[in-house]
Amino acid sequence: MTLVFVETDEAGQVALTSAEAVTFARTNAETLATLATSLPAGQPSGRSATQGNVAQRPEGGSDESLKVEAAVIGPLTGAATEQLARLGVETIHHLEHPDLEAYSAAAWAQALVDIAPEAGTAMASGTPRGMELMAHVAVRTGQRMAANVVAADAEGLLRQVLGGAAFERLQLDGDLQVLTIAGHACNPEETTPTSPEVLDYELDVAEEDLRTRVLRTEVETADDTSGLTQARAVVGAGRGVGSENGFGEVLELVDHLSGALGVSRVVTGLGWRPHSEQVGQTGSRITPDVYIACGISGAIQHMAGIEGAKTLVAINTDAESTMVQRSDYAIIGDLHEVVGAVNEEIRSRRG
């Protein structure tokens, strides 16, 4: 079977990236089962840290190896249970413990290891936490790990490398394949709802695994990337803006769209804007309805961050630039002049 670590947001909803990972697990269930070298045991491994499995696992049912199970750490809301049911999850492992309230990668990973199958697949979305937890899980179970998987077929797994400029084909040996799914490798897809069985556990958390627990979280607006990653419209600004003081037009357009500003690495490297606004391989990966790239040539590191945008618009002086060629729509011209005119047009239409 396939165990998916599911992240939930503050409201207890399943994160979009986790819904993608569950969908990937379900739609690739047969391939994943074939790639995992031996048939799954189908029972939680019951390693020492798990004291009791409160609910009894039902006998029979569908083929164990094709089952998708979810692990939720912390509170499990009714909304999340319903979402997971619509995503085809048959079993939800609910891992809650006072020592797991604050995030600690080692402790959370051990909780996952405690309920992971001995054979099959353990996966998460390729978020920072998903990556970190799966790496811990891989080491603790003595397995290999593949990060940012985008596809699976009979020849193995395919994963993003070089910031998405190429794919690596690989096969993981070992009974349990540990992997993360690249963001937006697939769209969340609902199926005939299941009635997921929720399993609660009494967990033992080792003191040693709490050494790296989060002490506190400091909320600083300057570091907040949620506006950028959740915006429906993102206006991108690159070197073409020209200077630290050249953001006037693009910021006005951001305002007209109730959107967010995203910048290229050159812009943060020059100190024009904070890193929290950076879009790309080492910044945020965004999924807006529209991304308007102003004065951005389209280096692969930047393109890696905007693959999830539904519509791409480029405003650039170079018609041959990667960004223009990869866009759906483009205006060839100076970004200050063009964006200024776009702002004016929006203002005049608003009347």
Partner: protein, 282 residues
């Protein structure tokens, strides 16, 4: 605080890539080489932290003989010395192998009297993107590990420490910090804001870009880099090996761009598109 920073020689890519004849790697001919952005930040953070605590920075790489260029570049911006673990074909090593070889060298340096309070790496390498070497290394060394760290503060308790990177001037005082005692406060971006961790040393930290700005080498730095002492090791044969079967390039898609026009006159056409998508604030 004595710090080891692990870096990796990678091809400097910005545009189209092609594969070599084996299909296992990209064609590096004609490409320059560099290190990952996260690693440049790790080097910078290490230099600031070592300066604030009266320690030193050693850079290490597992790579071909030419990777000495990347080691010297790190010395040029302020690292004190360097370690090259020479491997003719670094692509034959899997993440498990790399972690184990680095772990063995760290233990060997300790036997020779050079111990590190902190081992720093980039969060992931820009080429292979494995997201696991720092964590595997930490387990190999039996150290605690954090990932996604952007700034450090050498004094864990009390909060009097000035985070390296967000301050600008070095903190005063500081523990002598060799021999692996003490603690450090680390900061990374979490889901709801900056997450703060306290970490007992020795430890492994994977650094994420965004907390510090890597510096450029000075003239004296360049001179120092040329003469830098580089300890050399020869990598053993890889054990687990690289699970890679081959590389594949995404299919070339013909451009489907609709050119709305040239210059400000095209503004109306773009506003039409934005209205169609429905993103203009009313």
């Amino acid at each position: 605080m004595d710090i080891l920073v692990c870096i990796k020689r990678i091809p400097d890519i910005s545009g189209q890539i092609t594969l070599d004849e084996s299909g296992r790697d990209i064609d590096g001919s004609g490409l320059g080489h560099t290190t990952s952005a996260h690693e440049e930040c790790a080097v910078e953070l290490a230099i600031q932290t070592a300066a604030a605590t009266g320690g030193s920075v050693t850079v290490l790489t597992l790579g071909p003989a030419e990777a000495v260029d990347q080691l010297r570049a790190a010395v040029g911006v302020g690292a004190n010395d360097a370690i090259l673990i020479e491997a003719e074909d670094p692509g034959a090593f899997g993440p498990e192998d790399i972690a184990q070889v680095i772990g063995d060298v760290v233990r060997d340096r300790a036997d020779q009297g050079q111990s590190f309070d902190l081992v720093m790496l980039g969060n992931d390498a820009a080429d292979t993107g494995d997201f696991q070497v720092p964590i595997r290394l930490a387990y190999d060394l039996d150290y605690p590990v954090l990932t996604g760290i952007q700034t450090l503060s050498a004094h864990a308790a009390g909060g009097s420490g000035r985070p390296a990177g967000s301050g600008g001037s070095a903190g005063s005082g500081g523990s002598a910090g060799s021999g692996g005692s003490g603690a450090i406060e680390a900061h990374g971006i979490g889901l709801a804001g900056t997450e703060v961790f306290s970490l007992d040393l020795p430890a492994v930290i994977a650094v994420q870009e965004g907390g510090v700005d890597p510096r450029y080498p000075s003239i004296t730095g360049r001179m120092k880099a040329k003469k830098a002492r580089i300890a050399e090791y020869v990598a053993p044969e890889p054990g687990a090996g690289n699970p890679r079967i081959g590389l594949e390039l995404p299919p070339e898609t013909a451009s489907a761009v609709t050119i709305l026009g040239e210059g400000p006159d095209a503004a109306g056409a773009l506003v039409d598109v934005l209205e169609e998508i429905g993103v203009i604030r009313s």
